[in-house]
Symmetry: C2
Subunit: 176 residues, 2 copies
């Protein structure tokens, strides 16, 4: 038995949280009880109140989260982390500093993410009410070799989950 | 079976780390394998690089550590935390926001702590090279109702540990 960091990455509105929630439910039903979801809201409230969206702040943000994820896997906890993580070098930092890192590229075209605009953030970014907003006024460096890529605009949520679970089963990370 | 936050508090040089290390060893020998020590160096490297010794910074420091301790106990990890935590209201914050909190007052008179001066910090504080140094240029509010009080100037390390372990056994937190 091993413990993994599943890191869901891509733009706001791509479906990271939806997929993370669904994978969480599936793992729990598969008798994996020790799972922690880490997301922006939780981490912001407790660890990163002082940080915003500059390159430097994003870097510090990722470093704090990475430490927490490392601590948790060290103590036999699965971590499901949903963060935009737009820069290749920072995703590499996470990979190098956590145990058993699995990058899940939760892919959907920008226009689809913007249409969904679940939190109304794109609308604000277009009005320049949010600076350095990934996809609009800040770059996203596309993952080159993610362990898993899910196209959330092309299939159902059930299919997204099936794809992640199939990967975990194929690699014997969870039982079939 | 439950999981606890043992929080060792008092001045630099009181013996917090020595006691935490010894309790860690004892717990491991008692078949408690899932223990995390949290101390200034570890936390500073990963979570609190931006914080120093002002009241505001100390508060933010404690809040971040408390979140990590809460996450760990939630996932069945014992936490041994060694921090000066000089203010009553902040220790109360930790108590209110973690599960099964046990305050260990690692007590020794200031002059003894200063004589030990393991890290050379008192010397620097006396020369005003460190500001807001607890015990010298910043206050320490003595714990009023700690679960355990150990006088590290009056008995041997083995006796300090025995006192902590006796408390845990008496309350059925660990087996006798």
């Amino acid at each position: 038995m091993k413990w993994y960091v599943l890191r869901f990455t891509w733009l706001s509105g791509a479906g990271k949280t939806t997929l993370s929630d669904a994978v969480f439910d599936h793992l729990q039903k598969s008798w994996i009880q020790n799972i922690q979801q880490l997301d922006w809201d939780l981490v912001r409230e407790h660890l990163t109140k002082d940080l915003w969206f500059s390159k430097q702040d994003r870097e510090e943000n990722i470093k704090r989260i990475t430490f927490v994820a490392w601590l948790l896997t060290k103590h036999w906890v699965w971590v499901l982390a949903t963060f935009i993580s737009p820069y290749v070098n920072l995703r590499k930092y996470v990979r190098d500093n956590t145990t058993n890192f699995i990058e899940v590229f939760v892919n959907a075209p920008l226009n689809i993410c913007e249409d969904r605009d679940v939190k109304g953030l794109y609308a604000k970014a277009r009005k320049w009410e949010i600076e350095n907003f990934t996809g609009i006024s800040d770059p996203y460096e596309t993952p080159e070799n993610p362990e898993i890529e899910v196209r959330t605009d092309l299939c159902s949520i059930q299919e997204w989950v099936n794809q992640v679970i199939a990967y975990l089963q194929e690699h014997n990370y969870i039982a079939k």
